[in-house]
């Protein structure tokens, strides 16, 4: 691949990434924290994040694609239980989940 092509791709990607952020700041001028539009956008944002997480767990791309779906879902379920058992300690639960995934992945792959 030519260097110029790669550098152009990087700059174009950066512009394509900044555009939704730019438009978001612009649109936010018409939104206040207590309004209904804010709540609507909040619902959509949480929805997109939940959808993204679900997709990564069930239909991942890249290196995670080669791991077992059952292991990923099992780890997710156990991690949620640990999260509640640890009074919503995100740090502890996340590290627990990764270690559990690492161990199970050794045996099921």
């Amino acid at each position: 691949m030519f260097d110029t092509y790669i550098y152009s791709a990087i700059v174009i990607s950066a512009l394509a990434t900044y555009l939704p952020r730019f438009l978001g700041v612009f649109s936010s001028e018409f939104v206040n924290e207590e309004g209904k539009i804010f709540k609507f956008v909040s619902c959509i944002s949480y929805g997109i994040l939940a959808a993204l997480i679900a997709r990564i767990f069930i239909h991942p791309v890249g290196a995670l694609e080669e791991t077992s779906t059952l292991v990923r879902l099992l780890v997710a379920a156990i991690t949620i239980l640990v999260l509640f058992a640890s009074k919503k300690n995100v740090l502890f639960s996340s590290l627990f989940g990764v270690i559990l995934f690492g161990i199970l992945n050794l045996y099921f792959n």
Partner: protein, 231 residues
């Protein structure tokens, strides 16, 4: 005169060095390795995170480069992948808005809005007074950005050293962290229903339209929940 680099900025930086920074650094570490395998050099990998800083879009760029896609292909693919940043930005800016702060500050800050910083801020903003949130978020976002850029470079050089098993576990940290964060903030009925519906819809819609499944699932789940609880 508005002061920006105060104690709240430092608090934001410290928050960035915690679990948000660790999980994001792990993902960008993996991205650095992916860039090396794609054929990018270290300067290009560094530059991509420095000026791009949105992991899914960077992955799409690398995948499009592998198949020799045109620059227009890359522009459209990356824009569609990162379109989720639009509602997140619209959602975040009113939360951190500060009286008398120049508008361009927000356009500058927008570069640091990504899923990790958004989730952390939306989960914790009630603990920060309104006039201090901008500085806090600037500290948090800029720290995550710097950590990510450094991690991309480290990942690039570690691509052939780290074993595959450890590499996969490292990648898994970010989705696990996102999951824990979102589950930990499920305290309002409309958020619970949104998360539940979107999480169910996304894998189903993936079978119909893989590229749009996340966006569509989020919009449908969020709209139903809004209509049901708020409208």
């Amino acid at each position: 005169m508005i002061k920006t680099f105060d104690n709240n900025f430092k608090r934001g930086c410290l928050a960035g060095f915690g679990i948000p920074g660790i999980s994001l650094a792990a993902s960008f570490f993996a991205l650095g390795a992916l860039f090396k395998n794609t054929g990018l050099n270290v300067t290009q990998s560094f530059l991509s995170t420095l000026i791009g800083f949105a992991l899914p879009g960077q992955v799409v760029m690398a995948e499009t480069l592998i198949v020799n896609g045109t620059l227009l292909n890359i522009l459209i693919a990356v824009f569609l992948t990162n379109a989720r940043l639009y509602p997140m930005t619209v959602n975040l800016v009113p939360v951190i808005r500060q009286k008398n702060r120049p508008r361009w500050h927000y356009y500058f800050l927008a570069h640091f809005i990504a899923v990790t910083s958004w989730v952390y801020m939306l989960s914790n903003y009630n603990r920060i007074t309104k006039e201090n949130r901008f500085n806090f978020f600037l500290g948090l976002g800029s720290t995550l950005w710097i950590l990510s850029t450094i991690s991309t470079v480290i990942g690039f050089f570690s691509a052939e050293i780290i074993s595959k098993e450890i590499f996969v576990a490292v990648i898994f940290l970010n989705p696990i962290y996102f999951m824990c964060m979102i589950v930990s903030v499920l305290n309002k009925p409309h958020i619970v229903l949104t998360v539940f519906l979107s999480a169910i819809l996304a894998p189903i819609l993936f079978l119909l339209t893989p590229d749009w499944s996340v966006l569509f699932a989020g919009i449908i789940g969020g709209s139903i929940s809004y209509w049901f609880f708020i409208r």
